[in-house]
Amino acid sequence: MIKLKQLESELTQVTKFREPKVQLEQYPTTAHLAASMLYTAATTYEDIEDASVVDLGVGCGMLTCASGILGAAYNVGVDVDPEALEQARDNCDRFELDADLVNLDVQELVVPADDDEHGFRLTQRLSADTVVMNPPFGTKSNKGIDMVFLQAAAGIAERAIYSLHKTSTRDFILRKAQSWGLKGEVVAELRYNIEASYKFHKKKSVDVEVDFLRFEVE
C-alpha cells in the first residue's frame, strides 16, 4: 500500500473550491487531513481496501480521491452542489479514479419512521461498507446539519463511519450516535485550520478544535 507521506503528496494535486459557498460551509479538507483520516481507516481498521465507500458532502472530492488511491473497490460521492461535483469529477479524473457522483441533498436522505428501531429511514437505497465525510459543522443558519449527515451515514454504512465533528459537541454526538446503533470513538483530536476563504473572516485563518471520530456499526 502507498505510504502516508506519498498519499498526502498526491492529494495536494486535488483542486480546492473555486468559489466556496458560505451557506454550504464549503471549507476544503486539506490533503494532510484527508490523508491522515483515510490512511488510518485503511491501515488500522481495514475499512477501505476492496470496500465500497460513500462520501457524504463530497465537495471537491478530497476524501473520495484518498479512498480511491487506497484501493476502495467502489466509490460514490454525494453532494447538493453541482459545481462542486464537476470539480470532484475533474479531481477523480486526475487520478484516473472511478467514482460515481450523485447530485443529492443529504438532508433529503433521512425521514422519520415510527416503525424503525432507530426512528428513521433513508429515502434512497444507498448502502456501503464504509462512509467517510467531512460534514458541515452547522454553525451558521443550519444548526444540527452535522447530525443529519451522521444519521444518513448510519443508514448507509454496514461497517464503519469516519467523520469530523467539533470537539465542543463530542458528548452529545456520541450519545446520539449510540441511539442510532453506532459505537463511536475518538481517533484523534485535531486543530482544523479554516483558511480565510470568505470575506467575513477578519483573521487570516481560524483554528477550530475538531474530533476525528470513528463509528462502528453494531
Partner: protein, 121 residues
Amino acid sequence: MRLITHNMLQCHVKGCTTNNFPLQIQDAELETLEAEFNPGFVQRLIPKLHWGALYHTAVSLGIEDLPEQMPEEVTEDLLRAIHKVALETRVKEGKAVCLGCGHVYPISNGIPNMLLQDNEV
C-alpha cells in the same frame, strides 16, 4: 453513473411510494470503461443488489449478459457478467424517469440530478 449506483437510487418525491424503483433510464448515451475485476467484491455485492432491477435495466439498455433469475450457483462467468454490467457500464447522458409519478431526473456528464423542488420534498 454505473448501473450499481442506479441500483441504489429511487424516486423520492413526497408521496411517491409505489413503482418508484427502479428508475427507467431513457435517451441513454452509454459508455463502457474497463475496471479492475475484483471477484471477492462482486461476490459480496450480489446479496445487496436488487437483481430484478439490475436485470431489467440492463435489458432495457440492450445488454443481455445477465440471466433473468439470479442463479443459485455463483460461477466466475457470472461474477464477470455482473462486473461488466454493474461496474463497467455507465450512463453518461440521459434521464432516469420514475414510472410511478413520472418525475424526470436528468443525467448529465454521468451525474444524476436527484434534487427536488421545495414543493416535492
